[in-house]
Symmetry: C2
Amino acid sequence: MAKLLRAALTALLMLAAPIAAHAQEPRRKVIIDDEGFALMHLMLLESDKVDVVGITTVSGNTWARRATAMALRGLEIASRPDVPVAEGATYPLLNSEVLTERWEALYGKLTWKGAWMKQWVEPTHQSTPAYYGPDDPVDLPWGNARLKASSEIAANFLIRMVHKYPGQITIVACGPLTNLALAQRLDPAFASLAGELVYMGGSLNPQQQLDNVSAAQFAREYANSPRREFNARFDPEAASIVSRSPWRKITVIPADPSTGTQLTPELVKAMTAAADPDLGTFIARMEPGFPMWDEIAAGVLLDPGMVSEAEDLYVDFNSQFGAGYGDMLSWREGYQPGLGERKARVVRKIDAARLDALMVRLMANSRK
Amino acid sequence: MAKLLRAALTALLMLAAPIAAHAQEPRRKVIIDDEGFALMHLMLLESDKVDVVGITTVSGNTWARRATAMALRGLEIASRPDVPVAEGATYPLLNSEVLTERWEALYGKLTWKGAWMKQWVEPTHQSTPAYYGPDDPVDLPWGNARLKASSEIAANFLIRMVHKYPGQITIVACGPLTNLALAQRLDPAFASLAGELVYMGGSLNPQQQLDNVSAAQFAREYANSPRREFNARFDPEAASIVSRSPWRKITVIPADPSTGTQLTPELVKAMTAAADPDLGTFIARMEPGFPMWDEIAAGVLLDPGMVSEAEDLYVDFNSQFGAGYGDMLSWREGYQPGLGERKARVVRKIDAARLDALMVRLMANSRK
């Protein structure tokens, strides 16, 4: 009798579930795969629409080791010590620092080289980050974390999570795609078990939209190389592997929409004022002037209405070590070669004011 | 006092250790990374010089799934259910079946394509293996295993083992190098923690040495492409990553020494007679005619004296998707480009009769 009652109750609950889900959307589970800790992380951590179930790190703008330390310290500052951090790949699959120098000797200088950057080619407003080796000790300007990283390697953490929550994990990747490529080759079911991939990478044909020194200087990145973008260029083979993997849904944020955005001193001030004082101190120290590449990825995930122009394109990346190494390849339906590349929603323009407003609102959540 | 005594004892033991080690060489710990189960596995399993601490599988001649089933069944036949099997990569890093077909349409047909092989280009003495998909159910001609594979992914198993036994693991890799490349990118310390890498792969300039139909037919593989060999060609990017990793010691068995060897009906008969009857039945069913690519790797490890010609060369593999995709690159000291490629001991010729004799002797060990 008790068994029958339980069965009836279960059936009733199952019928009710879709209605309940409609009434209150469950929080989307998000894993952030990136090489540091900045506003994109804070946006996702502070949002009540998503649940950040982990952060994985990778080398790109900085080495994975430093990125891990930054993520751990960032989580302390954001009072989110509950979020696990798994350190990822130190080196891209095929590309390397020495290979990049040889490439530059053949095809010309790269504007930005991330962890391999020693100096800007031209005088540049933005500071040059200090140059480190992959295993150099880390001493962060905002203090070092007492939190420790998980002993699990990022790719394994990613694989474990998509198996634990099949179809429910959104991966927001804002660095080179090395960890995701490794996860896919370790486990061919990986991509198909993730709910969605949102990544910042690639470049279609960005145009300078803002009229100021920083915007003009960042235009050096794409002015003579409209298909080149740092994340993809740092690990072109990983970008190609990921582009040819069977994701259920892909949203791409190329460099293009970022040219309409900028982390202005005013925006920093507004977020500082909105945030909890401890977090505000952290935000206040951020260097302004940067296009908001990664924040667009978080913004589009949290408020898809900010996208003002997007296109469905088949996307891949050039893994040939020639002049176009790492360049984005894209095709409209019917033109794609059919080598496994997937149709992706590619964001071309966003409403920058709406992104700014969202960011301030999210930082205010830290006071809750 | 007890502490002092213990310290003195420890010091004494440390002094004694090298002498003891000299008196009786400890068995070398070996992990076999390969795509199936054959004589190479049996040679290492039956030798009292090495201790096979694990088998990892990978796609190449056949899909990883089938290779895993073969390894498990092989261990049952060899009465070695204690050896763990970890399944590895189903797909190579960048290469794929469809990409290979496009490549052939540009640069001409490959002689052997492993898991992607549908038929020989020319009439060929050797049987064409059945064509399967990566997830097709496996039904082995010699029965299916009751043994199960480990739940650990091959690359993770490899990483765990080199950390557990730093400097003590010899990896004998006779398939595409996908698992080793993944392990290295997951853990930058991987290669430097292994004791030695012995791999069958690459090709310098093989010459037909035996005068029979099989030997002439296998010469098709290298006659017009002396630098191309199947394992490297199946995953050229993995071969390059592995070649640029900081191994303590590398021994390479290219295709070259294999042209002096052949699994003759006489050798099959001799091994069958020598082996334990159950194992003998398994050996008796082996198809003769093949050059003994992988058996040379096991042979050189167990009896280095069989090497009659070897050279120290810097080795890498061409990962450019052009006519030379997957070709071996090699340089004498001073000519290497310095992109991370390592000096390797490359075996050019071996004493084939000595290999045959060793194989028969090892199979006889199964009677012990």
